[in-house]
Amino acid sequence: MTRTVLEVRDVQKSFGAVTAAKDISVAVPEGAVFSLIGSNGAGKTTFVNMVTGYIKPDSGSIRFADRDIAGMAPRQITRMGIHRSFQIAQLCNDLTVEENMLLAGAIHGASGPSFLRRAHDPEARDRAVATLERFNIAEHRDRLVPELSGGVKKLLDIAMAMAGDTQIMLLDEPTSGVASDEKFPIMDLVMEALRSTGVTVIFVEHDMDIVTRYSERVLAFYDGRIIADDAPDEVLLDPEVQRYVTGTPA
């Protein structure tokens, strides 16, 4: 029996009349790979936002490392080891790919960011480039973000999120905006990098092939609720899921 790293209990969130989360309860075991599915507006991103501190739940608790992290700032939650990537890659457009990576490295560096140490320190650059190489995007290192393709942006976004000590990684649609023939290679790259460190992964995904291939458990969202929570094969056979999420009887 593995330990539960993240326990979300009875979380509610509404935006005016829209209920984005209703009675959300999930327990995520350490090292597990979860996926979140659901149609547009179902509440997947809201879930990620609440766990990572961007949105404070109206009620309910989110326990991690023996603390209720609901409502803590993203910065604090990040420092505790919950990292995330974004549905729309969040990068610094005026910086090069390498500088974006240097930024992540500088913040996560052992001694904290320094006022004196050069950001472009050769050692730091080597480290940044090594990370970029791990994600196969080192060739773009000197390019500015707006020049990059969607896939490269996504990978850079994830690579930055992975800097530092990660215990839980939430990936919000890692393959959206990526050409379809690149989806599997990208997921392979990312999952390999994550598995090698034993990180717990929760990813949001619309592509059911990816869901079945990479996750061991699926949470299906509909209208702010979790309508199914099981192994991929089971969830995809659920009639409610077929009706509201996948849209086709299997």
């Binding site: 910065r75 990040t78 420092r79 995330r84 610094c92 913040i107 960011p113 006022f115």
Partner: protein
């Protein structure tokens, strides 16, 4: 890399210091004032790198100037080093008080709140007749570690002093801009969300930049007060701050030397326009500002710097 920076700093010092031999009195005074104000503008540039512009940097220019003057007049302190240090300290404290408050504001909020703060100081000083009201106060010529020069030697000493401070402050700021914290500042300007999600505090970064700006403003104000021999509430007036903003925009945030070049350009243009168009200085400044915004959006620094972060 660093050695190049120190070489550049030494060269800058040599060139600027040579001015003390070559320049006539009026030009040396003009340069000293320009460099002192350039220090204030360097502080604004530091904030601009993080994406905010202070429209009220006259606040610290004025606090620095008045601190030096009040200390000099009440305690008979005339040593320029001590006066500079005390003013910098005063501004450090005020900056540390306001910095955290202002650090959660951006854009127009930051600009207008900083302007409001400076205008409150202006209003208060204007009403405080014990310290001269709108007339302000005089401050005696400074001494340099016991040496009390007069006439041209005094001017020269003051000029060399400001040159030295400018070179030191410029070098330190360049080191900061190129540092890891400096990179975080640039990233903040771009995407705060990403910076927070990497685990850095945007508010802290904004506070640092604000406090550095405050200290630089105070040092600039002290030197200007000593050079002029007089302070008055105009130091905190919006027109004064407006000129600082202008210099910062003209210089852009890519290059440190550009700030001082821009400051000298402004002082030159001002002294000529005072001669020929005495009543249209703001007008000229406004038009010039529009021209810079349209034609040179990244400032003078973009003419020399290859890329941000790497420019000398």
């Amino acid at each position: 890399m660093r050695s190049k920076l120190f070489l550049g700093a030494t060269a800058a010092f040599a060139v600027l210091a040579a001015g003390s031999v070559i320049l006539p009195d009026w030009a040396m005074f003009l340069c000293a004032m320009a460099l002192a104000k350039g220090l204030v503008c360097l502080g604004i540039v530091g904030m601009m790198r993080g994406g905010v512009v202070s429209f009220g940097q006259g606040l610290y220019y004025c606090i620095g100037a008045y601190t030096a003057t009040l200390v000099a007049n009440s305690f008979g302190v005339s040593d320029i080093f001590l006066l500079t240090l005390l003013s910098a300290l005063a501004c450090l404290l005020v900056g540390m008080a306001f910095g955290p408050l202002l650090s959660s504001y951006r854009g127009i909020f930051f600009a207008m709140l900083s302007l409001a703060l400076s205008m409150v100081l202006y209003g208060s000083l204007s009403k405080m007749s014990v310290i001269g009201g709108t007339d302000g106060l005089n401050i005696a010529a400074p001494t340099f570690l016991g040496w009390a020069p007069e006439g041209r030697p005094l001017q020269t000493a003051l000029y060399i002093y400001v040159v030295a401070i400018v070179v030191i402050a410029g070098t330190l700021m360049r080191i900061y801009f190129d540092s890891e914290q400096g990179l975080i500042t640039l990233a903040t300007r771009d995407n705060e969300l990403r910076v927070e999600y990497l685990g850095a505090s945007v508010r802290n970064i904004m506070t640092y930049n604000y406090v550095f700006g405050a200290v630089l403003g105070g040092i600039g104000g002290t030197i200007a007060a000593l050079a002029l021999g007089h302070v008055d509430p105009e130091f905190a007036f919006w027109t004064t701050s407006g000129e600082f903003v202008f210099v910062a925009i003209l210089a852009g945030y890519l290059s440190v030397p550009a700030v001082f070049v821009a400051a000298i350009i402004l002082e030159l243009v001002r002294s000529f326009s005072n001669l020929y168009f005495p009543n249209t200085w703001q007008l000229a400044l406004g038009i010039f500002l529009l021209v810079v915004i349209v034609l040179l959006p990244n400032g003078l620094g973009s003419l020399v710097g290859r890329r941000k972060g790497n420019a000398a």
